[in-house]
Each structure stands twice: as structure tokens, then as C-alpha cells.
Amino acid sequence: MRNHFWSLVVYEYRKLFRRKMVWFTLGAMTVICIFVACSRLFGNSYVDGKIYESHREALEKDITFARALSGRALDDTLLKEMQEGYARMPDIPLAGASEEFEAYARPYKAIWHYVFLLVGDPAYEFVTEEEMYLAREAQIEQTWISEHLNNREKEYLRTAEEKVEKPFIYTCCEGWSVLGNLMNTICVLQLLLIAICIPPIFSEEHSRRMDQLIHCTALGKKPLYLAKLFVGVTFSVVSTLFLGFVLMVPLFCIYGTDGAEAALQLLNYRCVWPLTIGEAVFILLGLLLIVALFHTVLAMLLSEYFCSSTIPLAILAGIVMLSMFVNVPYEYRLLSQLWNMIPVNLVAIWGIFSNRLYPFFGTFLTAWQAAPCIYLLLGAGGAVLCFWRYQGYQCGNR
């Protein structure tokens, strides 16, 4: 029986990869990933209608400067150097193209950008280390209020925040940062890939009227269902890893691999979790793989329920579209939290590492602790439902 299972898996894979649409979709996704990874290299900056520098040159310069600052604490000394450098810029239009900017300010551009996010203009010109970290705390507290968190949640988050080491150590982590930010793009691509490739695993048997032949064979019920499930899940997981790899290789070639140990707060300053960017990316990647399983089961369940591959595609693509355009306000606490649990909303630096907490037997789970359990449970429930539907399918209504 075990050998039969693997032989069934081979046949299911054969059916899957003989569909032109699978190859076309995989090809298109690969091209999109490469394009997204390289997109910042294209184009030029213009001053007075003339090319000032290409984006590629600018990126190389900025990364070189950022690397020179790597390992330094974001403290008064570094802030002062940045402020002095920026103070030497002339007070003229297009000061960003001046020689002074290039010589004195640009080496500190990465620090300026971070400080500017925290305190804005003109405070960056004179802010001290203490004021900057206080400003960050104030912004975090403000976020908690706007998210309607209760006192227990705030206390839990404060405890987590206390574990974050300060001052932050600045580290050039461009490659990891861009990868972290693009995890959401991979999630969207993954969902579309699954929506296109997975439903036919079940629906083809109905559309080709093979169901009546299959369901009256010895292995056509449970063993075939398990083989189909295995093929769907492994295809989704492996193709997600493939998309991640296709994105990662050009990103690391362009931006470098350094900075995995940088504090997550350098990428998302409102984050209170004591994690490094490398850890955050691996958590996102792990979550993406669990989401692949969940999305696969969902696509299979829909295709078996509707005996169609078009309806699941429409529903799953609709989820992507809706998540792009619909945002549930924080006032509707439960609804908003449920909406944020939709994988394409959650699998992102700003989603999974948000301040939203999930009550759990007197304590709280963070989104990155709760979400994998929820998706796995939903996936397992969906697989059972799908099996129930598959097993009980009746070939009579044609």
C-alpha cells in the first residue's frame, strides 16, 4: 500500500506538470520575483534635466556609506556626526545634489532617514539620543491607543519592549530589510500560484468525468485523496521556497547578505519584539510555508466543493483584491483582528510583528506565535472537510 501511495503521488505530479498553465504561471511568477528584486536598479536621478546618477550608482554609494557605519551605536555621538554633516549642506534648492551633501551628509543618510522617521523635520537637526528614544516610545504608545489596546495588553507589550536593547546598534541590513518587506509580495504570488495550479488536482477529475471511474476503484477514495493532498501541499511549499529563493538570490547579490543580526527595530521602529531582522525573515518564511499549506487546503476544498477550478480561482483572487483595498478600522476590534489574520494581510513585517495580541489562557500570544497554530488548525480542519466531501461525492447529477 505504501508503494501504491508513492506511485499515486508520481501520477498526480505527472498530471500537474503536464498542464501548460502550471509552467506558464511558475514562469510568470519567477519573472515577477526577479523584476521586483531588481526594480530599484532601474532608472536614473535627474537634476536640471540632466542625469545626476543612476539608481544603481546611488544604491552602491548608499550601501557603501551604510556599511561604514555598521556596528556603531545609535547614540549621541553618531547623532551629532549626522547632524553636523547635514548642517554643512547649503541652504539652496536641490541641496541634495550639492558637493557638500555628497561629502558630508550622504555618508550619514541611513542614520538621517531613521531619525527623520522618528522625529521628523526640523527636530532631526538637534535631537539627542534620549529625546529620540523617547519620541519612539511616544509613537509606540500612540499606536497602542489608536489600536484600542487594553491596559493588560499595554503592560505585556511594555515588558517586551524593555527587553529590546538600547541604544540600537546601527547595521547595514539592506538585503534582509528588502527581503523582509517583500515577503508580503511572495505571499500574494503564492496565493495566486495556488489559486491557479491547485484546484485542477481535484476539479479535473470532475470536468474530465474521470470521477466515476476513480471512485469505483480500490484506491480511488482515501489513498488517492491522501496522494492528491500530499502533491498539493508539497507543490505549494516547494514552489513557495522556490519563489523565495528566486527573490533572495538577486536581492543578496545586489544588497549583500550582511545585517541579519540587526535589531528588527531598525526596519520597523514601532516594533516592540526583541528580534533580529534575520530572525524576523525566518519567522516570515516559516509562516509562509504554513500559509502555503493552509491556502492549498482551502483551494482544494473549494475546488472539490464546487467541482470547478474557476470558482476557487475567483474566490482566492478576490481575497487578494479585497485585502488590498479594504481595511477594517481598529475600532472594530474583533473584526479588525480577524481581517488582519487573513494571510495576505498578516505575512508582512508590518502585519506579523504588529502589537496585536491574542488572549491565551490568562496570558497573550503574539501574532507570530498564534498565526501558525491557527493556520495549521484551519488547514487540518479543511483537509478533513475536503476528505469528507471527496469521499461522499456522488456521480449522479449530470
Partner: protein
């Protein structure tokens, strides 16, 4: 060896497709005749376990229709079914053999044997999408026989076959019917006339005739038309 159908009923909302049918089958070829909508295909689907009856039971040598053991003894050729167009004939048979639980080496040998038997030996490595309707039908017949079924259910098996192929198929059925139960539904009365030991006629979900050739007075086709009224369509 016995297939027992006891008060088998299938009811859709306002229509009873099969109405309390009770039958027993022993080895031999049994032909099922009936007009369109008589309930033949519904009955066959229930016998094959792909359609759940509203009431009644089906068992083969004591095995319930829902069991894997029952399905291991079964061969089924549905009235209308598709194929995987990108599979070759041989691949399709190998896949069906696998689903029927045949060991790998046996499956390969049996697939080749059956391709030869249905006259597709030279076409086995061609993709099914290049097959004609008759070739597909022969491939369907081959897949039904892969597991040497003790219970063979054939719904319109001769549709699309040319006269020569039909004769060959009839001979095959007769041979299979010596040791196995073969249930055959067709709208071609002559197929049943020549191959079936027992004839069943169905109308509006009920059996209106169950007997042997000798019980029919005169030609079967005339008898059939008589049962259904001469003006009625004779397609099953």
C-alpha cells in the same frame, strides 16, 4: 458468486429514478434494456458505488458496495467519461491499474495484454488526445478489465465501435460471462440478443421484464418495442 440487490431505490426531489429493485445475479451476461430516463445508468452507478441509494442494499459475495473489497472485484465502464488527453494509452491503463491496486509488475503486463486484446497494441504509446472515439471506447473497455473483475458493469460499451469491433467485443463479453457476472446496458438490442443469457427491461425505475432469451417470443427487438410501445424511442 452472487450479486444481490435488495429493494434498491434512488429518489431525486420529485422523481424516483430507481424504484425498489430487487435482483440477484450469478455468473453470466445480463443485458439491461430501457428507454432514456428509465433508470439504467442510475442503477449501474449504484451497483458501482459511485451513487448512494436512497434505500436498499447491494452486496457482492457478502461484501457491501461501500467497501474496498467490493471495489477490488469490480470493473466499470461508464456511459460517458473522459480521459487525461496528455496521457498515452499505456500510461492511462497503468494509472488505472494502480488505482485498482494491482502490483507494479502485474499492472504493466496486464496493461500490455489488454491493449493487445482491444487492438490498441500499436497505439499504446500515443497520446489519448490523438485517439478516435472508437479507440477511446476500446481503451475504456480495457481499463474495466484490468483487475480481472468478478463483477463487470458496462454502460453502453459498444457506442462508437465499428461492426467488426462490436463482434470482437461480444465474443469477449461471452467469454468473460462464463466465470463472472457481466451486467451490460446498451441501446443496441442485437448486442444483447447475441451476448446476454439474461435480459432485464426497465421502465420508469422499475423492472418490467426479467427473463432469458427463451422466454421472449419471437425477435427480441420486436418484444422490446412491444414492451415500450412501438412509437417510443428505443435509445437506452
Amino acid at each position: 458468486m452472487e450479486l444481490t440487490i435488495d429493494r434498491l431505490t434512488k429518489q431525486y426531489k420529485n422523481k424516483i429514478a430507481v424504484d425498489r429493485v430487487s435482483l440477484q445475479f450469478k455468473p453470466g451476461v445480463c443485458g439491461l434494456l430501457g428507454a432514456n430516463g428509465a433508470g439504467k445508468t442510475t442503477l449501474m452507478r449504484m451497483i458501482c458505488g459511485v451513487l448512494k441509494p436512497t434505500g436498499g442494499t447491494i452486496s457482492f459475495q457478502g461484501m457491501d458496495v461501500s467497501t474496498e473489497e467490493y471495489r477490488r472485484s469490480l470493473g466499470y465502464l461508464p456511459q460517458d467519461f473522459g480521459y487525461y488527453p496528455n496521457f498515452t494509452g499505456l500510461e492511462f491503463l497503468d494509472y488505472m491499474a494502480l488505482l485498482k491496486g494491482l502490483p507494479g509488475s502485474t499492472a504493466k503486463r496486464r496493461s500490455q495484454e489488454l491493449l493487445d486484446l482491444v487492438g490498441l497494441k500499436n497505439e499504446g504509446k500515443k497520446k489519448i488526445k490523438t485517439y478516435s472515439g472508437g479507440m477511446k471506447q476500446r481503451l475504456g473497455i480495457a481499463q474495466a478489465m484490468l483487475n480481472r473483475p468478478k463483477l463487470l458493469v458496462l454502460d453502453e460499451p459498444t457506442a462508437g465501435l465499428d461492426p467488426k469491433e462490436r463482434v470482437r467485443f461480444r465474443e469477449l463479453i461471452e467469454e468473460l460471462g462464463r466465470e463472472n457476472i457481466v451486467l451490460l446496458s446498451t441501446h443496441i438490442v442485437s448486442d444483447i440478443e447475441q451476448a446476454a443469457d439474461r435480459i432485464l427491461m426497465m421502465r420508469e425505475g422499475q423492472m418490467i421484464f426479467d427473463g432469458a432469451q427463451k422466454d421472449v417470443e419471437g425477435r427480441l427487438e420486436d418484444f422490446y418495442l412491444e414492451q415500450f410501445g412501438e412509437g417510443e424511442e428505443t435509445d437506452a
